[in-house]
């Protein structure tokens, strides 16, 4: 193992030599990468050849390569479809709504961070994380029970206070709220973990100094805590943007019915229905590709904006 400390600086023999040296010295680090790289190549990169079916008419017996090219036909069909604008609008609104509530876990984390370590803090954390462990099927089952127009607890409360029962599950205007807020219920606590972790890294001396200067707790939160977790916030926000078009179609599908379809119909459920259930794979692949394009564009744009305005960014 002499090799390691033989040379510390890369000599000027040219780049290739440097690369070779580095590799020989640190080859074990590259071996560390191997399982992950293999996984990504085999299960992610190789299947990417499949995107070509978006431009083809896929016939199963001719395979992906053998099916005939048709160009942009599937895209045209999608853009001209009656549902195109509705799908796009619903997807954007639903995703945007969820993004709007992005600060909630941050608020919870800031709030939890103000508690002294003790039983109350521990219990609050433990209990708020709990819904994360429940599967989507079960959560939707619970939504149906709680929001039932006649027997559901929420409506019985509304009626008890003299209101009219609300058909939450079949109302297009309520769908977005129910979907998003039940998501908040499930992920709020869990989502705050990462910010709590970042907050634990804040230097206590900063707080002590601020206290001496007479800053209130609220001021200290605003001027010390938030700025110190800002990099975490920005990175997570940009990662979220990167999956903007992905709204959790399993849950949407479980909550969807003919009555709320005008707001609950999103691109992903449409892809699932036409692709996997109706077997129009090429059409579904074209829509999927469209989705990816939007995701990538948004990611690049937001990262650029973040870098320019705050100096914090994903790359």
């Amino acid at each position: 193992m002499k090799l390691v400390n033989e040379e510390v600086t890369i000599p000027k023999q040219g780049r290739f030599q440097g690369v070779k040296k580095n590799f020989l010295r640190n080859w074990q680090l590259y071996v560390f990468l191997l399982p992950a790289i293999l996984y990504f190549v085999i299960l992610h990169y190789i299947p990417m050849y499949g995107v070509q079916i978006a431009f083809k008419n896929f016939f199963a017996n001719q395979g992906i390569w053998g099916s005939p090219w048709i160009g942009f036909g599937h895209f045209e069909r999608f853009f001209n479809s009656y549902y195109f604008w509705r799908l796009l609008k619903n997807t954007f609104i639903l995703s945007g709504y969820q993004l709007l509530l992005f600060p909630l876990p941050i608020i919870l984390a800031l709030s939890l961070n103000e508690l002294k370590n003790g039983a109350f803090k521990k219990w609050t954390q433990t209990l708020t994380y709990a819904p994360h462990f429940i599967s989507v099927v079960v959560v939707v089952g619970m939504i149906v029970i709680f929001l039932d127009p006649t027997t559901g607890l929420v409506n019985r409360l509304i009626v008890a206070f003299g209101g009219e029962p609300i058909a939450f599950l079949t109302s297009p205007s309520w769908f977005r709220h129910v979907f998003t807020w039940s998501g908040v219920w499930q992920t709020l606590g869990w989502g705050s973990i990462i910010y709590l972790a970042a907050l634990s890294g804040v230097n206590p001396e900063l707080h002590e100094a601020a206290e001496v200067d007479g800053a209130t707790r609220l001021q200290r939160i605003i001027h010390i805590n938030i700025p110190s977790i800002l990099p975490t916030i920005v990175v997570l926000f940009i990662l979220n943007i990167g999956s903007f078009m992905t709204v959790g179609f399993e849950k949407v599908l479980l909550m969807q019915n003919d009555l709320n379809a005008s707001t609950s119909d999103v691109i992903q459920t449409f892809v699932y229905q036409t692709g996997l259930l109706e077997g129009q794979y090429s059409f579904a692949a074209a829509i999927g590709l469209f989705d990816s394009a939007i995701n990538i564009t948004l990611l690049v744009v937001f990262n650029y904006v973040a870098r320019k305005t705050s100096d914090n960014s994903l790359w």
Binding site: E114, L115, T126, L127, F133, G152, L239, Y281
Partner: protein, 297 residues
């Protein structure tokens, strides 16, 4: 002066505590409901008579759950898939994230991009299915544990942990002592990384425990079904089945629904319990474990 600040700080503390209590009640109530429902008379639950505490306590639901072979089999399978899948996850994730945290690694940014790109773009279900098939993983455990074995997010989090928590000097010192990267990783780095191991294991285990889509697509042997798929079979009466149950389907539909009504809540509790019991023990690692960094070096 000081006392005024203290007053406002105390007011803040009180408001903050009340806020958290409200949040906690909102989050906990539905869970209590399900727990109570699981030991109440199903009829009292579906007609809305039970709203907080159990009504007409009965343990029939649990008896039925424990008597159901399919649920037990699913349970066993899920445990196996979760344990094996989590082990593979750590085996792939930790070395990779560690290597990416080392500054002597070349092309780091390119590799991170290579990984991040998979989050944004994929070839779709059919080619993935064909790969799984050609690897001979169809209808085996591997089809459940290998796809999604690791994602960009976990790599970024684990890498950030290594960057912040493993002092550079420590690694350098070991190298000067002549230790190889393998040795350093296993003997020096891993023992210091308990928090990230625990947290990443839990994160991945939760996903494996609750996922059903891969199983739905790749498994056909019912003996290999994980719990979530059995749960779906019991809980979700398929729309297609409802519209067209086939001749005499009415009876089978009713049979299914009656069983489901009885065991619905018990099955939810039984299926969520293992994770709910495990995570408080891991919770203390959360604060040290999850940090996320950017691709920037």
């Amino acid at each position: 002066m000081r006392s005024r600040f203290n007053l406002s700080d105390r007011a803040f503390g009180i408001v903050n505590t009340i806020f958290l209590i409200v949040v906690m009640i909102l989050i906990v109530y539905p869970l209590v409901f399900v727990l109570s429902a699981s030991i109440s008379d199903p009829h009292a639950v579906s007609s809305g008579k039970m709203w907080l505490w159990p009504v007409d306590i009965t343990f029939k639901g649990y008896e039925r759950v424990f008597a159901n072979d399919a649920i037990w089999r699913g349970y066993t399978n899920t445990i196996i898939y979760t344990v094996v899948g989590t082990a593979i996850h750590l085996f792939v994730l930790l070395p990779c994230a560690y290597a990416l945290s080392r500054k002597e690694l070349m092309a780091k940014k390119a590799i991170l991009w290579f990984i991040l790109f998979t989050m944004l773009f994929n070839g779709g279900l059919i080619p993935t299915y064909l790969i799984i098939k050609s690897l001979g993983m169809l209808d085996t455990m591997w089809a459940i544990v290998i796809p999604n074995v690791v994602g960009a997010w976990s790599i970024l989090v684990a890498r950030a942990f290594f960057q912040q928590s493993i002092p550079d000097q420590l690694v350098e010192a070991s190298k000067i002592d002549g230790a190889s990267d393998f040795y350093i990783f296993i003997r020096v780095v891993l023992p210091l990384s308990l928090p990230i191991i625990a947290v990443m294991a839990l994160f991945h285990a939760v996903n494996l425990w609750n996922q059903y889509f891969n199983a739905l697509i790749y498994l056909s042997d019912r003996d290999k079904y994980p719990l979530q798929l059995i749960l779906r079979e019991i809980l979700v009466v398929n729309q297609m089945q409802l519209n067209d149950p086939g001749g005499g389907g009415a009876e089978s539909l009713v049979d299914q629904v009656k069983t489901a009504g009885l065991i619905k809540y018990a099955v939810i509790i039984v299926s969520s319990l293992p994770l709910l019991l495990v995570y408080p023990f891991i919770q203390r690692f959360f604060v040290q474990g999850v940090l996320i960094g950017s691709i920037k070096e």
